[in-house]
Amino acid sequence: MQIKESSEIYDVIIVGSGAGGGMATKQLADAGLNVAVVEAGPFFDPADPVTMTQLKWPYESPRRGANTDRAFGEWDMSYGDWEVEGEPYTHAEGTTFKWWRSRMLGGRTNHWGRISLRFGPKDFKGKTRDGHGDDWPIGYEDVKPYYDKVDKLIGVFGTNEGLENDPDGFFLPPPKPRLHELFYINGAKKSGIPVIPGRLSMLTKRINNERGVCFYCGQCSRSCQVYADFSSGSCLIFPAQKSGGKVKLYVNCMVREVTTNEEGKATGVSYINKEDRKEYKLRGKVVVLAASACSSARILLNSKSRQHPNGLGNSSNLVGKYLHDSTGASAAGFIPGLMNRKTSYNEDGVGGMHVYSPWWGDNSKLDFPRGYHIEVWGGMGQPNYGFGMNPNDFNKFFGLKVGGYGDSLRDDVKKYYGSVIGFGGRGESIARKENYCEIDPTTVDQFGIPVLKFHYKWSDFERNQAKHMQDTFEELIHNMGGHYLGEKPGKDKDYGLHAPGEIIHEVGTTRMGDDPKTSVTNKFNQLHDVDNVFIVDAGPFVSQADKNCTWTILALSWRASDYIIEQLKQQNI
């Protein structure tokens, strides 16, 4: 059968509907362009009661919220996790990478932690700072106007603290700290570690009449039905449609490659319709890839033609290279001062930390070059499968017996409810050419598309940083009068350093730069090799920073969209 081709020629075809794709959709459609959005998963609206998990109780499911069908528990709003059925990926021997994919409109923005941190001036100039990695071709001053606009369009709570590398913004007021967070603030103070209000994209205050205000259920990972948290569908794509934009959604459509003409310019994309498993073509003047750093690299590498024998945009041979995730290490402590809590009030709060610690250290005096921030969790959360297991394990800290049965178990559960504080260190790793993804020609997914093979190893920089995290967590727990839970991971366990990919901040596969020999995209996210193809996910990141990547994806996608509009006007592309 011949591949079916659409007769309509879109101004722009956007591949992927997460943060980057959503922002491009909003900006380009608002500018009057005729846009097609191609998403590999189904349509999703957080307000749809059929798919909604927000405000569900564990007893509404026979598995009580257990994580057997969704890696982060069955209420987590991500279709797909480290594994997606029928869509494998492979690894080079001796290396590891875990690849999270959300197949749905809005992608991973439906379940993410909403931690919305701007990169600071130092973060764009890593090489200048310490000789490692590379500088970005742009600086904070280039991105700042877009960060400002993103703050106002989407909404983020936080405070202006005047910190050099954690810039101020246009913040909504933050929620008050919860009880365990007050313990954290006090504990951190003893070690001289700064703590400031969290910066998360939830509406603690109204920003317009279209979106609701946070009602403090603590379930942003379930995606908010009143659109009080940032999800790409509810905050960018639906508003773009509602304001009269020409936005055509192609859902359950998995892009295979970018198609090109004799001159090597992009003419559109080919995709597999998952419903009839047939291949189709869409035609467009501009193609914007926003499929996620690794998926966009995969599409480029699979887009081989006579004009682009090495894959699209890959004359530098760097597509897929410099893949890097945030580092992460975690710990939890039992805090006796948080025992015997009154359950007289609802402390769900927002779905994430009300306070956090931005990086405070001086790397020139440490054995790792880049910093990390500390995320804090705890409190009297909703019981789900796993709650109350090992109900009196903490008895051992008081010389009491562990185990038993009977009425006393009820007392144990209540006594210890809410007495654990957890920490997540999230840091910057150095981007390395040796860490990469490539096409594995021996394996295809269920749609016949060759899959990615990962090559990724941590270095001692990341291990040393994880050791610093663990030592810090131990000190903080001690400061709070608590006990480190479990065995503190040592050198043999890489100090608890999470496997690459597990923090789900993968970036760098199509990095930007001024030199086409050492970068894939230019400073406007445009392929050096093909001027009508742009990448607006985290692929163009030169480095990750000790920040989460979403706010920068949004800012750069907006910036690239402005550039696309301008270039189309000038008929340059």
Partner: protein
């Protein structure tokens, strides 16, 4: 139809249980009416493939009637019912264990083997199956297996010890994830509300206090429905 109207219509149109934005009056700073949210219980957010798997598991049978009766009897020893909340039966703990045994098949050898061990032991000691033994007899057996060596990994300890620990975990988690168990626990969340800090009596109980400087930066909940506006330096004006 203006934009706001169309959003309301869209959201109201999604289900029988009404979900509505109430007045977002920007002129005065009175908080809007309590937000109405969807609490439809017909669905629990499964995809068609996930629902299919649940139906498949429900159609399978892991435990015999006798097994289920034994699980029930043991559950009642582990967590006896207590007024006014109830216990494992009201919390549908045996049904949950049947489902989870299929959902996480790795647990099956321990559960099935442990149940056999229980009857064997009870028969040997008292000449009766566990479910038919007296409470005293049941406790006597449980007393021997309900403590474990906390210095040693559980999976290196005898099966009956592993079995009891697993059953205790399932019973306690099953109870506290049920409607009656959550009421017993006193958890007040999972419902729309307005977070305005830890109550004073709780702060006092745990010996902590709010820093007035910190609190001054936090949200004034009486103005949360007033649309945010800033000056050019990012200072919130509203």
């Amino acid at each position: 139809m203006d934009r706001r109207k169309s959003i309301e219509t869209m959201i109201l149109g999604v289900g029988a249980s009404a979900l509505a934005f109430h007045g977002c009056n920007t002129e005065n700073s009175k908080p809007a009416e309590e937000v109405a949210v969807n609490t439809d219980t017909k669905y629990f957010g499964r995809t068609p493939a996930e629902l299919e798997r649940i139906e498949k598991l429900n159609a399978e049978r892991l435990f015999t009637d006798h097994d289920m009766e034994t699980i029930t009897a043991l559950s009642l020893v582990i967590l006896p019912p207590k007024e006014p909340f109830g216990g494992p039966i009201e919390a549908e703990v045996p049904e949950m264990i049947e489902f989870m045994g299929k959902d996480i098949p790795e647990m099956q050898p321990t559960l099935k083997g442990g149940l056999m061990w229980l009857d064997h032991k009870c028969n040997k000691e008292f000449g009766v199956e566990f479910k038919a033994a007296t409470l005293e007899q049941q406790k006597q057996i449980c007393d021997e297996i309900c403590w474990h060596d906390i210095e040693k990994p559980l999976d290196e300890q005898p099966l009956e010890i592993q079995f009891f620990a697993l059953m205790r975990n399932l019973v306690v988690t099953g109870y506290y994830t049920s409607k009656v168990g959550i009421a017993d626990l006193g958890y007040k969340g999972n419902t729309p509300n307005v977070w305005d800090g830890v109550p004073q009596d709780v702060l006092d109980q745990h010996g902590v206090a709010y820093d007035p400087e910190w609190i001054a930066k936090c949200v004034d909940q009486s103005k949360r429905n007033v649309i945010a506006e800033w000056d050019e330096n990012g200072n919130l004006l509203t």
